[in-house]
């Protein structure tokens, strides 16, 4: 019956002959292309050795080394997790930059790194990244495969597992990096209870207050992605962050112009964005 209704419904008109008939398709395409071109230009500038702006100092980013150093001094492990992000998620890609950084630090300081997972494909890549870090540090035998753990793909099953692990193994550093949901505060408070130095980096606006309340350092919103780029220390990757900042300035200008025009009674910018 539902199929019949769908077939009977009039098909929406296609935009400009080929575009998907949704609000903001053309505006989105324009923004995507503009930013793509900007990224390309900035990368070319970086490759040619031309000056590009520096990424500002992010306090949370420097705390990673401090926290791993503290764990080494205390002889306790380091814990890092991203909860439930699959391999196709851009938060996972950013997380891998942090994981590689922490794994490199742990491998060079000979400190145990525990990675807990809720997604099996991500766990496989995580294991490879950590193994590679130990290999490059010349300590392949120090890598413990059992420390890359799958907890559960059920939210609170995973949370119980991680909280229990933190209570038992008492990591001296707890890194919560990625997109989190209701488990964020439980994980962060479990870390606070064992006295771990905690660094959180998240793009989830709903979880920012919890992390700010319970972690020593919190990287919010785009700091999380910019930090991932900054860790690479490659000017080519810096270029994409500069392009992102230029687009942001343009968007803020558009918001201000739109507000002024809308106040004056013109919906030009709104129509443009919805186009």
């Amino acid at each position: 019956m539902l199929n019949l209704l769908v077939l009977a419904a009039e098909a929406p008109e296609v935009k400009w002959g080929i575009f998907v008939p949704d609000d903001s398709t053309i505006a989105g395409l324009f923004l995507a292309l503009t930013m793509g071109i900007l990224v390309y230009v900035m990368i070319q500038r970086a490759r040619a050795g031309l000056p590009i702006p520096e990424i500002r100092r992010i306090a949370g980013l420097e705390a990673f080394e401090e926290a791993v150093g503290r764990a080494t001094e205390m002889g306790r492990p380091v814990h890092i997790t991203t909860y439930y992000q699959d391999v196709g998620d851009y938060d996972t890609w950013a997380f891998w930059a942090y994981l590689a950084h922490v794994a490199k630090l742990c491998a060079s300081y000979d400190t145990r790194i525990i990675n807990t997972n809720s997604e099996w494909l991500t766990m496989t890549v995580n294991e490879e990244i950590i193994r590679q870090a130990y290999l490059e540090a010349g300590r392949p035998d120090a890598f413990i495969p059992d420390d890359v753990r799958f907890m559960s793909d059920w939210q609170f099953g995973y949370t119980m597992g991680v909280a229990g692990m933190i209570a038992r193994e008492k990591p001296a550093a707890n890194f919560l990096v990625g997109y989190f949901y209701a488990e964020s505060l439980i994980l962060a408070e479990a870390g606070a209870l064992v006295g771990a130095i905690q660094v959180a980096a998240t793009s989830s606006t709903a979880q920012i207050p919890f992390f700010v309340a319970s972690c020593d350092y919190t990287m919010i919103g785009e700091e999380f992605y910019a930090g991932a780029a900054a860790l690479s220390k490659e000017p080519v990757i810096y270029g994409s962050v500069v392009a992102q900042d230029i687009t942001r300035v343009a968007l803020v200008a558009l918001i201000i112009i739109g507000t002024l025009l809308n106040t004056a009674g013109s919906s030009f910018v709104i129509d443009l964005i919805k186009f």
Binding site: V14, K15, I18, F19, V20, P21, T25, M35, V39, I43, V87, Y90, D91, T92, W93, A94, W96, A97, A100, A103, W120, L121, V125, E128, I129, Q132, W154, Q155, F156, G157, T159, M160, L185, I186, E189, A192, S203, T205, I208, F210, V212, A213, S214, I220, G221, E222, F224, Y225, A228, A229, S232, V236, I237, S240, V241, A243, Q244, T247, R248, L251
Partner: protein, 219 residues
Amino acid sequence: MKREVPLVLTFVMTLLRFGFEMLNPMLTYEISEGVRLFSRISFSVTFMYCMGLFMGLINLTRVHGNTIRRRREHWIYSVWLLIVMYGYAILGLFFGGMESKPFTWIYDAVIVPLDSTMFSLLAFFIASAAYRAFRIRNVESVIMMVVAFIVMLGNVSLGEVLWSSEAFLGGFKGLKDWFLATPNAASQRAIGIGVFLGSYAAILRVALGLEKRYLGGID
């Protein structure tokens, strides 16, 4: 070659996905009658996950079987894990399916209460985190505490008794609504715009092959 093939595949799949989002002829393209290319590609992900589930089942049996055979530390938990995993799967597959009473009862009587118990811990953790966060150390924490106090009072009946929503400024409830709808929404949207741009730049880095950590390396 081991690195080039995934990089090319990533770029092609990014273009395909972009096309599905933007171009109507691509989104509605049918490889046979009633079967869209988009749904077939989406199905490949489901297929991969099913294969992963099967491999996970074999791997768990192997790992925990070894633990039990060698009587490693906490081996009894491995026994329990295998009993629960296979028992619940057999119950669902051969005894009335997922709608059967024993199957749903185990879910309702075990999983749901455990879930709720864990979720309810949040209330206590919020209290302990709030205690640390609201200690007055500087101007920012004073502002945070005052605003949190107003929002809390705006949500409970005590706030209504102290300063009614009928009174000046809409009482605590009016102030709470203003805090949530104006400064809070504005800052959330600002962060949201930053997240969108940051995530888009991250996608571009991967699509253009600048970011290769998903291949398992550290650089």
